[in-house]
Structures are given as C-alpha cells and as structure tokens.
Point group: C2
Chain length 219, copies 2
C-alpha cells in the first residue's frame, strides 16, 4: 500500500515541482468541466479523444507505484497531492486552498458543472466531501490530527453551483476525540452545517498531548 | 440556472449518445488518474499539456449553457449525466452504476488514486459523497425521492483504494421524511455505515402519497 513517505527535496525545487503539478492538474480539471458540458458533434469528440489518448500515453510512460500517498519533506512541509479535496495535482479536487488561524480554517472557491447533483445545484455528497476535509484540517491545525470517526451534515438549503465558502473550527477535545464544527455558505447565507468527530491516531497520542494541553487547555 | 429539462430523443439515438458520452468520460477519467500518479519529466508534461489544450479547445467549441442539469426523455428515462457520482459523462464520478430491487440498491466498482485521503486509503469525504448518492437513489427507487436533509456517516475502519461495494435500503417513512441506511464495504467487511434523511420535495408530495401507501404501507 502507498504509505507516508519522508522525502528530502530542496525547497526551491519543491516550489518548481508544485507549479508544474498544479498547471497540469488545472488543465485536466478544465477538461473535466468541458467534458460535462460540451455539445460538439461525434466527429469532434473522436478528434478530441485522439488528443486525450496522446496525452495519457505520455503521462503513463512513467508512474508512481500505487497512489500518491502523503509525503513529508525535510523542510517540514507535507504534500498530500493526491488528496481528493486539497491535492495540488488531483483534477477532481476543486482544489480547496485552506487558510488557517489557530483553530479556525476557511476557504473560498468555485464549484463548476462537474460538482452537480440536483439540476443547477452542488451535489449534497460533494458538500459532505469538502466539509469532511475542511473539518479534518481544522483538527489538524489545532494540533489534534485524526481520521474521521463520524461526520454529520445537515442541509439547510440547496447550494447553487458557483462561488462558495467553507469555515470550520475546533469545538472541543474529549480524550482521543476532537469535535469540529463547520459550514458551507454562499453570499446568501449558510447552506449546510457539519459536525465531525476525529479520532487521534495511536502514533500521535503521546506526541500531541503536550500541544493539546497548551492549545486547548485540556490534558 | 440549469433546470429540469423535458427532451424528446429517440431511444436508439439516446443509446448511441450515451455510448459516445461514456467513452469520452472514460478517457478523461483515465487521464485524471494518470495526472495524480505520473512521474514523467517536465518536458513530457509540457508535451502532454499541448494535447490537453487541443482537446479542450475542440470540446469547448460548442457547449451547453450552464451545467448539464437533469433531463427527462419521452420514453420516461432520466439523464443526470452531470451528476458527480452516477453521471455518465462526468469524469469525476467513478461512475457508480446502481442496480436496484424494490427498496434496495447496490453497486460494485473500483476507486483509483484520485479518490485518496490518508495514504493509500479512500478519502472519508469520498465515502460520504458516494453514500449520499446511493442512499438518495434508494429513496428514489422506493418511490420517495428527496433532497438530503441530514447525512450521518460512521467510519468503522480505513478503506483501501481498489474494489468496493455499496448497499442501501429504505428503512422507514415518517411524513415527508424518508430514513435510509447503507454501508460501504470491501471483501474484508464493512468500512463505513450511513444514515440519510431525505425530504420529499413539495412538487412530489401529492403525486407520491398513493405510491407510498402501496409500497411502504404508510399513508
């Protein structure tokens, strides 16, 4: 299985690689949206598919074994480039670029036609997908990383495709469980609210307890 | 906003169009996976991007206004081709091809590297995304279609990328609320369990009540 990999890449080189990965993913993401809404005739589709086959053949010449995994660099940064929500080189990710300040994280981004559920609206499951990641990131930034134990999403109203905003913050910590709340909204208000319970992994329990005491006041 | 569209396409023509859409989406989906795991050098990425730009330019020559929407054909079939989970021409959808029998729906499919969360594991949010759709489809097949009101997912263990199975069934109906349960599993057992509450839309309340009495025994 793809694992957690420690790498030793020069920070400047990492900046360059990030830009390359991001440009490629942006192109494929635009192609994903174009595929959903194209209205060209069959001959044009055949012609487009020839280019897609050529691109794929180039990209598949050399590939990582398994999935991308999660990689840590010697400068302390973490790369989860394959992540379905925040991954720099994952074309299914919007991607969500999170900003954070202590126990709060947030982001503003656009959801295109590939995220549709009911006609013209964001798929309820896409909202759950994004909120799961954003709530998990809030737990991580608050010093209590974890896998999702339970995620509950309450849908307040339909979310039109287009510009959205997500917010999340750590609510409280009870033993190995972190309770995080968040919401997805548009400029007309909150569309969905979520609560996530994240479970501190075994490997982090010793290491995190001091930080917990400092940042959350429990111990 | 993209809406619910009534179309009058000959069934044979619809079969042909479905095949064309599906092939194109399959190609782009393979390209999405290749983008996540490629390890080619920068020159090869530049060359691949030339083909991607050419394909995109062809597909964008003529496009649907807005998102795909949900289209009903004169033969009674429904097309939600833009749907992020089951959409025939949505490359971010696995896609999940649901089978159904009364109030039960299920499907078996593969989740590739673009659905990663923790290293080598399916993103918890992707599991929520898929279960939201599958539970909603179970409600629809049971005669009580609805928008998601609340979705709760409980994660039992990590789900390795690869082959998965989903199952869902209508549990009960209380007034305008349908309670649906389901799970995602691999051949080693259940990885996540979900409960969804789906709210019958206003337009369906009159129409569905008779069917409800027949199929669920309430009224």
């Amino acid at each position: 299985m793809t694992g957690y990999i420690q790498e030793d890449i020069d920070p400047a080189e990492l900046v360059r690689r990030t830009a390359v990965a991001r440009e490629l993913a942006d192109d494929v993401r635009a192609l994903v949206a174009a595929t959903v809404v194209t209205d060209v005739d069959d001959d044009a589709v055949v012609e487009a598919r020839r280019h897609l086959a050529a691109a794929r053949s180039i990209l598949e010449t050399k590939r990582i074994d398994g999935a991308f995994g999660v990689r840590f660099n010697s400068d302390g940064t973490k790369r989860a480039w394959g992540n379905a929500v925040v991954g720099e080189r994952n074309p299914i990710a919007p991607p969500v670029d999170l900003e954070h300040d202590g126990e709060r994280v947030w982001s503003e981004f656009e959801l295109g036609p590939q995220y549709e559920g009911p006609a013209g609206l964001v798929h309820g499951g896409v909202i759950a997908l994004i909120l799961d990641q954003v709530l998990g990131s809030a737990a991580e930034h608050a010093g209590v990383p974890g896998m999702t134990g339970t995620l509950t999403v309450r849908y307040v109203r339909g979310t039109p495709l287009g510009a959205v905003r997500v917010d999340a913050r750590l609510d409280r910590v009870e033993g190995i469980k972190s309770f995080v709340t968040g919401e997805l909204s548009t400029d007309t208000g909150v569309c969905a609210q979520a609560e996530g319970i994240f479970i501190l992994p075994r490997w982090a329990r010793g290491e995190v307890s001091d930080q917990l005491r400092r940042s959350v006041g429990e111990g």
